[in-house]
Subunit: 172 residues, 2 copies
Amino acid sequence: MPEAPSKRSARDAEKADIDRIIEAVVYLYTEARRVTKEVARERGLTGPQISAIKILESFGDISLSELSDRMSARNSTITGLVDRMERNGLVERIRSAEDRRVTLIRLTPEGARIAREIPVDSMQILGAALDSLSRRDRHELRRILVSLTAAVEEEVRRRGHAPERARQPETP
Amino acid sequence: MPEAPSKRSARDAEKADIDRIIEAVVYLYTEARRVTKEVARERGLTGPQISAIKILESFGDISLSELSDRMSARNSTITGLVDRMERNGLVERIRSAEDRRVTLIRLTPEGARIAREIPVDSMQILGAALDSLSRRDRHELRRILVSLTAAVEEEVRRRGHAPERARQPETP
DNA sequence: TCCATTTATTTAGCATACTAAACAAATGCC
DNA sequence: GGCATTTGTTTAGTATGCTAAATAAATGGA
Protein backbone atom coordinates (compact mmCIF):
# COMPACT_ATOMS: atom_id res chain seq x y z
CA MET A 1 0.00 0.00 0.00
CA PRO A 2 1.63 3.25 -1.09
CA GLU A 3 1.29 6.06 1.42
CA ALA A 4 0.92 9.51 -0.04
CA PRO A 5 2.48 12.22 2.08
CA SER A 6 -0.62 14.39 1.66
CA LYS A 7 -4.07 14.66 3.20
CA ARG A 8 -4.83 11.42 1.52
CA SER A 9 -2.31 9.61 3.64
CA ALA A 10 -4.66 9.42 6.60
CA ARG A 11 -7.35 7.80 4.54
CA ASP A 12 -4.84 5.59 2.81
CA ALA A 13 -3.55 4.47 6.18
CA GLU A 14 -7.06 3.55 7.22
CA LYS A 15 -7.62 1.70 3.99
CA ALA A 16 -4.38 -0.12 4.63
CA ASP A 17 -5.56 -1.07 8.11
CA ILE A 18 -8.80 -2.38 6.69
CA ASP A 19 -7.12 -4.36 3.94
CA ARG A 20 -4.67 -5.86 6.37
CA ILE A 21 -7.43 -6.81 8.81
CA ILE A 22 -9.48 -8.49 6.12
CA GLU A 23 -6.44 -10.34 4.89
CA ALA A 24 -5.70 -11.49 8.43
CA VAL A 25 -9.23 -12.70 9.05
CA VAL A 26 -9.24 -14.66 5.81
CA TYR A 27 -5.84 -16.12 6.56
CA LEU A 28 -6.70 -17.10 10.11
CA TYR A 29 -9.94 -18.73 9.09
CA THR A 30 -8.41 -20.62 6.18
CA GLU A 31 -5.48 -21.87 8.20
CA ALA A 32 -7.56 -22.93 11.17
CA ARG A 33 -9.91 -24.80 8.90
CA ARG A 34 -7.08 -26.58 7.19
CA VAL A 35 -5.61 -27.74 10.48
CA THR A 36 -8.98 -28.92 11.73
CA LYS A 37 -9.27 -30.99 8.61
CA GLU A 38 -5.91 -32.60 9.26
CA VAL A 39 -6.79 -33.43 12.84
CA ALA A 40 -10.00 -34.99 11.60
CA ARG A 41 -8.27 -36.96 8.93
CA GLU A 42 -6.08 -38.76 11.41
CA ARG A 43 -9.24 -40.39 12.66
CA GLY A 44 -10.78 -41.01 9.29
CA LEU A 45 -13.24 -38.16 9.71
CA THR A 46 -13.72 -34.75 8.11
CA GLY A 47 -13.80 -31.30 9.64
CA PRO A 48 -17.57 -30.82 9.69
CA GLN A 49 -18.02 -34.34 11.05
CA ILE A 50 -15.79 -33.53 14.01
CA SER A 51 -17.73 -30.36 14.65
CA ALA A 52 -20.97 -32.28 14.60
CA ILE A 53 -19.66 -34.94 16.95
CA LYS A 54 -18.42 -32.41 19.47
CA ILE A 55 -21.71 -30.52 19.36
CA LEU A 56 -23.68 -33.71 19.90
CA GLU A 57 -21.39 -34.63 22.77
CA SER A 58 -22.03 -31.28 24.42
CA PHE A 59 -25.74 -30.97 23.87
CA GLY A 60 -26.96 -34.55 23.75
CA ASP A 61 -29.65 -35.59 21.28
CA ILE A 62 -30.72 -32.57 19.27
CA SER A 63 -32.87 -32.07 16.21
CA LEU A 64 -31.39 -31.76 12.78
CA SER A 65 -32.47 -28.12 12.70
CA GLU A 66 -30.71 -27.35 15.96
CA LEU A 67 -27.58 -29.04 14.69
CA SER A 68 -27.81 -26.94 11.51
CA ASP A 69 -28.08 -23.77 13.53
CA ARG A 70 -25.15 -24.64 15.74
CA MET A 71 -23.05 -25.43 12.71
CA SER A 72 -24.16 -22.35 10.80
CA ALA A 73 -25.29 -24.40 7.83
CA ARG A 74 -28.56 -25.09 6.07
CA ASN A 75 -30.72 -28.06 6.88
CA SER A 76 -30.14 -29.61 3.49
CA THR A 77 -26.40 -29.50 4.09
CA ILE A 78 -26.74 -31.20 7.45
CA THR A 79 -29.05 -33.84 6.02
CA GLY A 80 -26.18 -34.92 3.79
CA LEU A 81 -23.66 -34.73 6.60
CA VAL A 82 -25.82 -36.85 8.88
CA ASP A 83 -26.40 -39.32 6.02
CA ARG A 84 -22.66 -39.88 5.70
CA MET A 85 -22.11 -40.04 9.44
CA GLU A 86 -24.94 -42.52 9.79
CA ARG A 87 -23.46 -44.62 7.01
CA ASN A 88 -20.17 -44.63 8.91
CA GLY A 89 -21.83 -45.64 12.16
CA LEU A 90 -21.17 -42.40 14.04
CA VAL A 91 -24.77 -41.30 14.64
CA GLU A 92 -28.33 -42.53 14.32
CA ARG A 93 -31.60 -40.84 13.52
CA ILE A 94 -34.44 -41.05 16.00
CA ARG A 95 -37.99 -39.98 15.33
CA SER A 96 -39.19 -37.56 17.99
CA ALA A 97 -42.29 -38.72 19.87
CA GLU A 98 -43.52 -35.23 20.75
CA ASP A 99 -43.32 -33.78 17.28
CA ARG A 100 -43.21 -36.32 14.55
CA ARG A 101 -41.78 -33.88 12.05
CA VAL A 102 -38.59 -33.84 14.08
CA THR A 103 -35.59 -36.11 13.63
CA LEU A 104 -33.29 -36.32 16.61
CA ILE A 105 -29.63 -37.03 15.96
CA ARG A 106 -27.87 -39.23 18.49
CA LEU A 107 -24.25 -40.36 18.80
CA THR A 108 -23.71 -44.10 18.60
CA PRO A 109 -21.39 -45.61 21.25
CA GLU A 110 -18.68 -45.54 18.61
CA GLY A 111 -19.39 -41.90 17.84
CA ALA A 112 -19.33 -41.04 21.54
CA ARG A 113 -16.03 -42.86 21.97
CA ILE A 114 -14.43 -40.85 19.17
CA ALA A 115 -15.88 -37.65 20.57
CA ARG A 116 -14.17 -38.33 23.91
CA GLU A 117 -10.82 -38.87 22.20
CA ILE A 118 -10.89 -35.61 20.35
CA PRO A 119 -9.57 -32.50 22.04
CA VAL A 120 -12.29 -29.98 22.68
CA ASP A 121 -10.83 -27.17 20.72
CA SER A 122 -10.39 -28.26 17.16
CA MET A 123 -9.17 -24.88 16.06
CA GLN A 124 -5.91 -25.81 17.76
CA ILE A 125 -3.56 -23.66 15.81
CA LEU A 126 -5.58 -20.54 16.34
CA GLY A 127 -5.96 -21.37 20.00
CA ALA A 128 -2.26 -21.94 20.45
CA ALA A 129 -1.40 -18.72 18.72
CA LEU A 130 -3.93 -16.83 20.80
CA ASP A 131 -2.17 -18.17 23.87
CA SER A 132 0.95 -16.43 22.70
CA LEU A 133 -0.69 -13.02 22.87
CA SER A 134 -0.42 -11.04 26.07
CA ARG A 135 -3.47 -11.26 28.27
CA ARG A 136 -4.15 -7.61 27.65
CA ASP A 137 -3.96 -7.95 23.88
CA ARG A 138 -6.13 -10.99 23.93
CA HIS A 139 -8.75 -9.19 25.91
CA GLU A 140 -8.53 -6.13 23.73
CA LEU A 141 -8.83 -8.29 20.63
CA ARG A 142 -11.92 -9.91 22.00
CA ARG A 143 -13.48 -6.58 22.82
CA ILE A 144 -12.88 -5.15 19.36
CA LEU A 145 -13.92 -8.28 17.49
CA VAL A 146 -17.13 -8.54 19.46
CA SER A 147 -18.01 -4.98 18.62
CA LEU A 148 -17.03 -5.59 15.02
CA THR A 149 -19.27 -8.63 14.90
CA ALA A 150 -22.13 -6.57 16.23
CA ALA A 151 -21.49 -3.99 13.51
CA VAL A 152 -21.54 -6.66 10.82
CA GLU A 153 -24.73 -8.13 12.24
CA GLU A 154 -26.29 -4.70 12.16
CA GLU A 155 -25.12 -4.14 8.61
CA VAL A 156 -26.50 -7.49 7.54
CA ARG A 157 -29.83 -6.68 9.12
CA ARG A 158 -29.92 -3.26 7.54
CA ARG A 159 -29.27 -4.60 4.07
CA GLY A 160 -31.75 -7.38 4.47
CA HIS A 161 -29.04 -9.71 3.30
CA ALA A 162 -29.75 -11.92 6.24
CA PRO A 163 -29.10 -15.65 5.96
CA GLU A 164 -32.79 -15.83 6.85
CA ARG A 165 -31.85 -18.40 9.42
CA ALA A 166 -32.99 -16.11 12.18
CA ARG A 167 -35.74 -14.04 10.75
CA GLN A 168 -36.27 -12.60 7.27
CA PRO A 169 -38.60 -14.55 4.98
CA GLU A 170 -37.64 -14.69 1.32
CA THR A 171 -38.87 -12.73 -1.66
CA PRO A 172 -40.87 -14.91 -4.03
CA MET B 1 -18.14 -24.61 43.23
CA PRO B 2 -17.27 -21.10 42.26
CA GLU B 3 -15.72 -20.49 45.66
CA ALA B 4 -12.21 -20.16 44.44
CA PRO B 5 -11.51 -17.11 42.33
CA SER B 6 -8.14 -18.76 41.93
CA LYS B 7 -5.93 -19.44 38.96
CA ARG B 8 -8.74 -21.55 37.68
CA SER B 9 -11.07 -18.68 37.02
CA ALA B 10 -8.36 -16.62 35.40
CA ARG B 11 -7.71 -19.44 33.01
CA ASP B 12 -11.41 -19.87 32.39
CA ALA B 13 -11.67 -16.20 31.51
CA GLU B 14 -8.84 -16.59 29.06
CA LYS B 15 -10.49 -19.62 27.56
CA ALA B 16 -13.66 -17.60 27.17
CA ASP B 17 -11.72 -14.86 25.39
CA ILE B 18 -10.21 -17.38 23.04
CA ASP B 19 -13.51 -19.06 22.29
CA ARG B 20 -15.16 -15.76 21.62
CA ILE B 21 -12.36 -14.64 19.32
CA ILE B 22 -12.50 -17.83 17.30
CA GLU B 23 -16.23 -17.55 17.06
CA ALA B 24 -15.92 -13.98 15.81
CA VAL B 25 -13.34 -14.85 13.18
CA VAL B 26 -15.49 -17.67 11.86
CA TYR B 27 -18.56 -15.49 11.83
CA LEU B 28 -16.85 -12.59 10.09
CA TYR B 29 -15.37 -14.78 7.41
CA THR B 30 -18.58 -16.68 6.78
CA GLU B 31 -20.69 -13.56 6.54
CA ALA B 32 -18.27 -11.77 4.24
CA ARG B 33 -18.22 -14.78 1.97
CA ARG B 34 -21.98 -14.92 1.87
CA VAL B 35 -22.20 -11.30 0.81
CA THR B 36 -19.59 -11.78 -1.90
CA LYS B 37 -21.67 -14.59 -3.23
CA GLU B 38 -24.74 -12.40 -3.39
CA VAL B 39 -22.88 -9.67 -5.24
CA ALA B 40 -21.75 -12.28 -7.73
CA ARG B 41 -25.17 -13.70 -8.10
CA GLU B 42 -26.64 -10.43 -9.27
CA ARG B 43 -24.54 -10.90 -12.37
CA GLY B 44 -25.21 -14.57 -12.79
CA LEU B 45 -21.78 -15.51 -11.50
CA THR B 46 -20.40 -17.18 -8.38
CA GLY B 47 -17.88 -15.97 -5.83
CA PRO B 48 -14.85 -17.83 -7.12
CA GLN B 49 -15.73 -16.85 -10.69
CA ILE B 50 -15.65 -13.19 -9.72
CA SER B 51 -12.28 -13.69 -8.05
CA ALA B 52 -10.93 -15.36 -11.15
CA ILE B 53 -12.23 -12.64 -13.44
CA LYS B 54 -10.72 -9.87 -11.33
CA ILE B 55 -7.38 -11.67 -11.18
CA LEU B 56 -7.35 -12.18 -14.93
CA GLU B 57 -8.24 -8.53 -15.40
CA SER B 58 -5.29 -7.49 -13.24
CA PHE B 59 -2.66 -9.88 -14.52
CA GLY B 60 -3.65 -10.58 -18.10
CA ASP B 61 -3.32 -14.06 -19.57
CA ILE B 62 -1.87 -16.38 -16.95
CA SER B 63 -1.41 -20.11 -16.71
CA LEU B 64 -3.86 -22.31 -14.90
CA SER B 65 -1.22 -22.95 -12.23
CA GLU B 66 -0.67 -19.28 -11.62
CA LEU B 67 -4.39 -18.73 -11.35
CA SER B 68 -4.55 -21.60 -8.84
CA ASP B 69 -1.82 -20.02 -6.75
CA ARG B 70 -3.43 -16.63 -6.76
CA MET B 71 -6.72 -18.12 -5.70
CA SER B 72 -5.14 -20.35 -3.04
CA ALA B 73 -6.70 -23.45 -4.55
CA ARG B 74 -5.45 -26.63 -6.15
CA ASN B 75 -5.04 -27.05 -9.88
CA SER B 76 -7.77 -29.63 -10.06
CA THR B 77 -10.20 -27.20 -8.46
CA ILE B 78 -9.33 -24.49 -10.95
CA THR B 79 -9.64 -26.89 -13.87
CA GLY B 80 -13.30 -27.30 -12.95
CA LEU B 81 -13.78 -23.58 -12.38
CA VAL B 82 -12.27 -22.74 -15.76
CA ASP B 83 -14.38 -25.45 -17.40
CA ARG B 84 -17.56 -23.80 -16.15
CA MET B 85 -16.39 -20.31 -16.99
CA GLU B 86 -15.41 -21.44 -20.47
CA ARG B 87 -18.81 -23.03 -20.91
CA ASN B 88 -20.38 -19.70 -19.94
CA GLY B 89 -18.24 -17.76 -22.37
CA LEU B 90 -16.23 -15.84 -19.77
CA VAL B 91 -12.77 -17.19 -20.58
CA GLU B 92 -10.96 -19.29 -23.16
CA ARG B 93 -8.04 -21.68 -22.95
CA ILE B 94 -4.99 -21.00 -25.06
CA ARG B 95 -2.14 -23.41 -25.57
CA SER B 96 1.18 -21.78 -24.72
CA ALA B 97 3.69 -21.73 -27.56
CA GLU B 98 6.76 -21.65 -25.34
CA ASP B 99 5.83 -24.57 -23.12
CA ARG B 100 3.26 -26.86 -24.58
CA ARG B 101 2.34 -28.28 -21.19
CA VAL B 102 0.92 -24.90 -20.27
CA THR B 103 -2.65 -23.68 -20.74
CA LEU B 104 -3.11 -19.94 -20.65
CA ILE B 105 -6.44 -18.61 -19.43
CA ARG B 106 -7.74 -15.50 -21.19
CA LEU B 107 -10.82 -13.37 -20.59
CA THR B 108 -13.22 -13.20 -23.52
CA PRO B 109 -14.52 -9.70 -24.45
CA GLU B 110 -17.67 -10.58 -22.51
CA GLY B 111 -15.61 -11.65 -19.50
CA ALA B 112 -13.56 -8.46 -19.67
CA ARG B 113 -16.74 -6.38 -19.85
CA ILE B 114 -18.13 -7.99 -16.71
CA ALA B 115 -14.80 -7.55 -14.94
CA ARG B 116 -14.93 -3.82 -15.58
CA GLU B 117 -18.40 -3.58 -14.08
CA ILE B 118 -17.52 -5.26 -10.81
CA PRO B 119 -16.21 -3.24 -7.86
CA VAL B 120 -12.77 -4.26 -6.74
CA ASP B 121 -13.45 -4.91 -3.11
CA SER B 122 -15.88 -7.71 -2.72
CA MET B 123 -15.62 -8.00 1.04
CA GLN B 124 -17.93 -5.02 1.26
CA ILE B 125 -19.73 -5.80 4.46
CA LEU B 126 -16.60 -6.37 6.46
CA GLY B 127 -15.11 -3.20 5.06
CA ALA B 128 -18.18 -1.18 5.93
CA ALA B 129 -18.26 -2.53 9.46
CA LEU B 130 -14.57 -1.81 9.94
CA ASP B 131 -15.31 1.77 9.01
CA SER B 132 -17.60 1.95 12.00
CA LEU B 133 -14.78 1.24 14.45
CA SER B 134 -12.90 4.14 15.94
CA ARG B 135 -9.61 4.85 14.27
CA ARG B 136 -7.79 3.82 17.40
CA ASP B 137 -9.62 0.50 17.66
CA ARG B 138 -9.09 -0.21 14.02
CA HIS B 139 -5.42 0.40 14.35
CA GLU B 140 -5.20 -1.66 17.51
CA LEU B 141 -7.10 -4.47 15.83
CA ARG B 142 -4.73 -4.43 12.94
CA ARG B 143 -1.70 -4.52 15.21
CA ILE B 144 -2.99 -7.48 17.20
CA LEU B 145 -4.22 -9.44 14.20
CA VAL B 146 -0.94 -8.97 12.40
CA SER B 147 0.97 -10.31 15.35
CA LEU B 148 -1.54 -13.12 15.68
CA THR B 149 -1.10 -14.00 12.04
CA ALA B 150 2.65 -14.10 12.52
CA ALA B 151 2.17 -16.43 15.48
CA VAL B 152 -0.02 -18.73 13.43
CA GLU B 153 2.48 -18.72 10.58
CA GLU B 154 5.20 -19.62 13.03
CA GLU B 155 3.09 -22.39 14.51
CA VAL B 156 2.34 -23.75 11.06
CA ARG B 157 6.01 -23.76 10.21
CA ARG B 158 6.92 -25.40 13.47
CA ARG B 159 4.45 -28.21 12.96
CA GLY B 160 5.45 -28.69 9.36
CA HIS B 161 1.82 -28.49 8.42
CA ALA B 162 2.58 -25.95 5.76
CA PRO B 163 0.40 -25.92 2.65
CA GLU B 164 3.67 -26.09 0.74
CA ARG B 165 2.20 -23.70 -1.74
CA ALA B 166 1.75 -19.98 -2.07
CA ARG B 167 0.78 -18.28 1.10
CA GLN B 168 -1.80 -15.62 0.27
CA PRO B 169 -5.31 -16.75 1.01
CA GLU B 170 -7.82 -15.35 -1.38
CA THR B 171 -11.31 -14.05 -1.01
CA PRO B 172 -13.87 -15.94 -3.00
C1' DT C 1 -64.15 -28.72 11.71
C1' DC C 2 -61.58 -27.73 7.60
C1' DC C 3 -58.25 -25.62 5.11
C1' DA C 4 -54.37 -22.33 4.61
C1' DT C 5 -50.09 -21.54 6.61
C1' DT C 6 -46.03 -22.64 9.03
C1' DT C 7 -42.33 -25.68 10.42
C1' DA C 8 -39.03 -29.75 9.85
C1' DT C 9 -36.76 -32.52 6.85
C1' DT C 10 -35.50 -34.47 2.50
C1' DT C 11 -34.51 -34.53 -2.54
C1' DA C 12 -32.48 -32.77 -6.72
C1' DG C 13 -29.16 -30.22 -9.02
C1' DC C 14 -25.35 -27.24 -9.16
C1' DA C 15 -20.66 -25.21 -7.74
C1' DT C 16 -16.64 -25.61 -4.91
C1' DA C 17 -12.89 -27.98 -2.70
C1' DC C 18 -9.56 -31.65 -1.98
C1' DT C 19 -6.60 -35.98 -2.86
C1' DA C 20 -4.83 -39.44 -5.81
C1' DA C 21 -3.74 -41.03 -10.01
C1' DA C 22 -3.18 -40.66 -15.09
C1' DC C 23 -0.92 -38.22 -18.92
C1' DA C 24 1.91 -35.33 -21.52
C1' DA C 25 5.71 -32.35 -22.19
C1' DA C 26 10.09 -30.47 -20.58
C1' DT C 27 14.46 -31.11 -17.96
C1' DG C 28 18.30 -33.21 -15.98
C1' DC C 29 21.79 -36.34 -15.41
C1' DC C 30 24.68 -40.32 -16.93
C1' DG D 1 21.15 -39.87 -26.76
C1' DG D 2 18.15 -41.97 -23.44
C1' DC D 3 15.71 -42.62 -19.51
C1' DA D 4 14.32 -40.94 -14.73
C1' DT D 5 12.40 -37.05 -12.72
C1' DT D 6 9.89 -32.91 -12.55
C1' DT D 7 6.21 -29.92 -13.93
C1' DG D 8 1.44 -28.68 -15.78
C1' DT D 9 -3.03 -30.20 -16.49
C1' DT D 10 -6.85 -33.22 -16.37
C1' DT D 11 -9.77 -37.11 -14.57
C1' DA D 12 -12.11 -39.66 -10.98
C1' DG D 13 -14.18 -39.89 -6.72
C1' DT D 14 -15.75 -37.92 -2.31
C1' DA D 15 -17.36 -34.23 0.86
C1' DT D 16 -19.26 -29.71 1.62
C1' DG D 17 -22.35 -26.02 0.73
C1' DC D 18 -26.28 -23.64 -1.30
C1' DT D 19 -31.15 -22.87 -3.40
C1' DA D 20 -35.55 -24.51 -4.86
C1' DA D 21 -38.97 -27.61 -4.65
C1' DA D 22 -41.32 -31.69 -2.59
C1' DT D 23 -43.26 -33.95 1.66
C1' DA D 24 -45.12 -34.47 5.97
C1' DA D 25 -46.80 -33.01 10.27
C1' DA D 26 -48.48 -29.36 13.37
C1' DT D 27 -51.08 -25.04 14.02
C1' DG D 28 -54.30 -21.33 13.53
C1' DG D 29 -58.27 -19.12 12.18
C1' DA D 30 -62.91 -18.64 10.02
